[in-house]
């Protein structure tokens, strides 16, 4: 089965979800993680739509978490990356590494 090709932001959202893990990855934490690591502002609206698209492609699944007081007693929708999602991430990162390999100018050595 051919792996799903990913857009740049889709890849970043999947990487953030993997890093946070299935018990801590949800919209707010994913947006915060991306902002912290990439040092670029992320609109939560974009994270929402990206997660919806990833879910419709079968790259992530979601489930309801526990309710929390800081959320006004509302639950979180936790994100788990599926095997297909993981394969898509691997394929995308491999492709990037393959393209970057040997390009000193990109790796900052030139």
């Amino acid at each position: 089965m051919a792996t799903e090709s990913l857009g740049e932001f889709e890849l970043i959202v999947l990487l953030a979800s993997l890093r946070l893990g299935p018990d801590e990855a949800y919209t707010v934490s994913i947006a915060a993680d991306i902002t912290q690591r990439t040092r670029r502002p992320v609109r939560r609206a974009n994270v929402y739509t990206t997660l919806q698209r990833l879910e419709s492609k079968g790259l992530v699944t979601t489930r309801l978490g526990d309710a929390r007081p800081e959320r006004g007693g509302r639950p979180r929708r936790l994100v788990t990356v599926t095997r297909t999602g993981l394969a898509a991430v691997r394929a995308a990162t491999n492709a990037i590494q393959a393209m970057v390999g040997g390009l000193d100018i990109v790796q900052g050595r030139a």
């Binding site: 707010v28 609109r43 609206a45 698209r53 006004g72 639950p75």
Partner: protein, 917 residues
């Protein structure tokens, strides 16, 4: 610190998100908001959260539309929401430049609609749902007693406040204040009238605002016997003490009592409402029997974790207990707790909400009407681009795609209109608040001069509504049957025409234009009448002011008991002393007291004359000082002036309103209108009723109540009485009663100054303060300035009416022009054939334009009939002008709008027309 996400944000997300994900989306928003509150503070966090809610909602909706398009197979051509692209908006901007007429007329019309809508929304938001700019402002509440039988607020609530303070658990920092007016006199002798709050110390804790200098009030200051202290506001500190930091510990005379200043509050601080100085509320000195004593306002903050409903439940219980314990005073009283600002409405909240919703509905209807007019123009433009539509359809564009493009074009137009409209609203809000302040109204500290973010969002919503009505509706109509026309390879079919809906719109629009113009002419006449009114004496040489003296005891002031003889004697002596000191000043030519200034509000009454039973007259009435006419330089032309013996008695009356005496002086208009120019001296008149109550209609039913006869002792020339242009048009005769200050705690004074009267204002204050430091002196201005102030509201109303009229007229002209142009372009072939067959050009023009002309005539007729109904027929030459002028203007401009299309129709060459067909 914890802040709440605005409720409308949650509602927006609940609507936009998929049903099974709404709860989590709202939870995310809440969590993100709390993080922002911790990082950036409540105010900024609120704005950012609102913006994010809109952003997320738009993204979720776009995703839903995109998915729906994918599911129903239209994704390749784009779903409705996703169809509008950046290119469409670029084309929309191009259209603005390509059709400047539509851009200006349509843009202005939408701007007007949005300006009116946003203004009404902002007003409602500021009045009904203001945000208190205080920490946890949304948890600050007011407590009051509601009298169910009287259906009103019971303000004598000190007894209940004391009980609540001991027993209520759900509300913290329970406190109270009462309004007092005092004169503050500095050691240098400068004086300033202050609206103060006597407030419990808890008010400062509740507001949580730190003083600029010194300290705020403490509980120990409230004890009987504690030294008198006051906290002053920044404005007082700036204007009276030149920001001197050494004011702390200094004393000032406050209402005649030496009082120590202990603190200065920032300029933005006005809690509880609009106060500029604060003294401790000493409850022990006040009458605390049930439903007796002072008017009190109670406030507090909801305890942590307690909702408004829970607090209300506790108060209800206390109310029931009080009703059982004290049925004679509390049987009909129910304690209420509510959002702080809501307590300032003395009618029920349901009445307020109903009025607000009715106003919003009216505004929405107005916007729909305006946009429907713009839709007429868009329809004509879109119909003119029919060939472009057919071509695009041939190249594969769906109907939805074409409609989306037209919608995007009107969204751009609406966006430009919204920007202009919001600017108008912002300007209007500032003007209205400025007018209110100029009129002497003090605005609550929570009133803003800038627009709320929610108002901007509401304007965005109105823009969408406007774009859908003005763009999507005509687009759907034009693109109906596009595929059929494509198959027929024909453009300009007879099926594309203005239908009944547009006809109705144009008729309504023309009728409204006639009415708007009539209202504008009426407002202009009012304004011109006001400006043209001659005051009848050199008003610019007179400096005027209102003087007020404190009641002799706090208890008398609090309970508003009738004046004692001692108090009245004190008032009389003080006002006499002020008059003597002023008269002795070399800069002063004359001095007079009066209860009514010329050019300001006067009461109107119905009177009857002796020997003329059965007929009555409406007159305006003034109460003036004994030397009033001489001081103004207009002595009586016949009879005599007032003497001390003409005065009535006012002892024991709370206001002295009815102490009129038995002698009156009338003006020359009175002589002409009531006595037909005959001699009235020695004749008698008497009051029947207040005209405000029994009506201005001369044939109105008369009352049985008869007042004493009054003798006419003199005639004076006409000088200004009322300044109300509505009453000025009635040219009411005037009657004067003798009056002298001292029958109440206040008096109005006018002094004729040798030289510049404005420059005398500080001296007037100094002289008054020297007589009695507790006398407050307010509204110091020349009599001419006072009258100009009265007229400013009418000027503003006229400008608003003029703007609305101009835009509605422009819409009518543009609509008529569109119909004519459209008709010519549709019937080019027919015109050509008729010309070829030798038809008379005049008959061709009449045949083609008859429908449009009939619509204009129908509109003019409908507008005229409505006007006549509103005016109850034409009763004067001015009334005829108000009706005829708009009709003539309307017919003239519609005729002008027909000129270009008519010339175009008459220039059609038969050969060219047949070739085109």
């Amino acid at each position: 610190m914890r802040g709440n996400v605005p409720r409308w944000c949650n509602a927006l997300l609940a609507w936009a998100a998929p049903r099974d994900q709404a709860d989590e989306a709202i939870g995310d928003l809440e969590e993100a908001h709390q993080r922002r509150v911790a990082r950036r503070g409540r105010r900024l966090a609120g704005v950012l959260t609102a913006l994010e809610a809109v952003d997320v909602a738009v993204a979720l909706l776009r995703e839903r539309w995109r998915r729906r398009g994918t599911m129903d197979g239209t994704a390749a051509r784009g779903s409705f929401g996703a169809r509008i692209s950046l290119l469409d908006f670029k084309l929309g901007f191009r259209m603005l430049a390509k059709y400047p007429g539509l851009t200006v007329v349509g843009g202005l019309a939408i701007a007007l609609g949005i300006a009116v809508g946003a203004f009404a929304f902002e007003l409602a938001a500021q009045v009904m749902h203001p945000r208190l700019p205080l920490p946890d402002g949304d948890r600050i509440v007011a407590l009051r007693l509601w009298h169910r039988q009287a259906n009103g607020v019971e303000e004598q609530s000190l007894h209940d406040f004391i009980g609540w303070r001991e027993s209520v658990k759900s509300i913290e920092e329970l406190g109270a204040y009462r309004d007092v007016d005092r004169n503050l006199v500095t050691r240098a002798g400068q004086s300033m009238a202050l609206r103060m709050a006597e407030m419990t110390a808890s008010g400062f804790r509740l507001a949580g605002v730190r003083p600029l200098l010194g300290r705020v009030l403490e509980e120990s200051d409230e004890q009987l016997g504690a030294p008198p202290v006051v906290v002053i506001g920044e404005r007082v500190w700036r204007t009276q003490f030149n920001r001197d930091p050494a004011v702390l510990g200094q004393t000032v005379r406050l209402g005649g009592v030496e009082t120590t200043m202990i603190g200065v509050m920032p300029e933005s601080f006005g809690f509880p409402v609009f106060h500029s100085a604060w003294a401790p509320l000493r409850i022990a000195a006040l009458d605390s029997r049930p439903r007796r004593g002072t008017q009190l306002h109670v406030f507090g903050r909801l305890a942590p974790g307690i909702s408004l409903d829970e607090a209300q439940a506790e108060l209800r219980l206390l109310g029931e207990r009080a009703a059982a314990d004290m049925p004679e005073t509390h049987e009909h009283l129910r304690p209420e707790v509510m959002a702080y600002t809501r307590a300032f409405f003395t009618v029920s909240w349901r009445t307020v909400m109903t009025s607000a919703y009715a106003a919003q509905l009216g505004v929405l209807l107005f916007l729909i009407l305006v946009c429907a007019n713009v839709a007429t123009l868009v329809f004509a433009r879109t119909a003119a681009r029919e060939s472009e539509m057919v071509l695009r359809s041939a190249l594969g564009a769906s109907r939805g795609r074409i409609v989306s493009q037209i919608l995007a074009e009107t969204l751009v137009l609406g966006g430009v209109g919204a920007l202009v409209g919001l600017s108008i609203t912002n300007f209007g809000v500032r003007i209205v608040l400025g007018l209110l302040q100029d009129a002497g109204l003090r605005l609550p500290f929570w009133i803003r001069t800038s627009l709320a973010p929610t108002t901007v969002l509401y304007a965005v919503l109105l823009t969408f509504i406007a774009a859908v009505i003005a763009g999507a509706v005509p687009a759907l109509k034009v693109t109906r049957g596009l595929a059929h026309r494509l198959r027929q390879a024909a453009v300009g079919g007879a099926d594309l025409k203005f239908g009944k809906l547009w006809t109705g719109l144009i008729v309504t629009q023309v009728a409204l234009t006639v009415i708007f113009m009539a209202l504008t002419i009426d407002a202009q006449q009012d304004m011109a009448r006001g400006h043209a009114m001659r005051l009848g004496f050199p008003a610019r040489q007179f400096l005027s002011a209102q003087l007020e003296i404190d009641r002799m005891t706090a208890a008398a002031e609090a309970a508003e008991v009738p004046y004692t003889e001692a108090e009245l004697a004190h008032y009389r002596a003080t006002f006499d002393a002020v008059e003597q000191r002023l008269a002795a000043d070399p800069a002063i030519a004359t001095v007079t007291y009066t209860a009514n200034f010329p050019g300001s509000y006067h009461t109107t009454h119905r009177i009857e004359v002796d020997g003329a039973s059965g007929s009555s007259h409406i007159v305006q009435r003034a109460r003036v000082g004994l030397k009033y006419f001489d001081a103004l330089g207009v002595p009586p032309v016949a009879g005599r002036g007032f003497r001390t013996g003409d005065l009535g008695s006012s002892a024991g009356r709370p206001t002295g309103d009815d102490a009129l005496g038995t002698a009156v002086i009338v003006n020359e208009s009175f002589v002409r209108q009531v006595f037909g120019g005959g001699n009235p001296i020695g004749r008698h008149v008497r009051y029947l009723c207040h005209a405000e109550q029994c009506g201005f209609d001369r044939s109105a039913a008369r009352t049985d109540k008869r007042e004493p006869w009054l003798e006419i002792i003199g005639i004076v020339p006409d000088i200004a009485m009322t300044g109300d242009p509505d009453l000025l048009r009635m040219n009411l005769p005037g009657m004067y009663h003798p009056w002298q200050p001292g029958d109440a705690y206040w008096a109005r004074i006018a002094v004729r100054v040798r030289g510049d009267p404005r420059a005398f204002a500080p001296r007037l204050r100094a002289i008054t303060t020297a007589v009695d430091p507790s006398v407050r002196i307010e509204q110091v201005m020349t009599l001419e300035d006072l009258y100009e102030l009265e007229l400013r509201a009418y000027d503003f109303a006229f400008r608003g009416a003029l703007l609305a009229s101009a835009i509605v007229l422009l819409l009518s002209v543009a609509g008529t022009y569109s119909i004519m142009s459209f008709t010519v372009s549709r019937r080019t072939r027919e015109i050509g054939i008729r010309s070829a067959l030798g038809a008379d050009p005049r008959r061709i023009v009449l045949a083609i334009f008859s429908r449009a002309l009939a619509q204009v005539m129908a509109g003019v007729l409908a507008g005229t009939v409505l006007l006549l109904v509103m005016m109850r027929g034409i009763q004067s030459r001015q009334g005829a002008l108000i009706v005829l002028l708009p009709v003539c203007i309307m017919l003239a401009v519609c005729a002008l709008a027909c000129v270009v299309p008519t010339r175009r129709a008459l220039r059609i060459e038969p050969t060219a027309a047949l070739r085109e067909g």
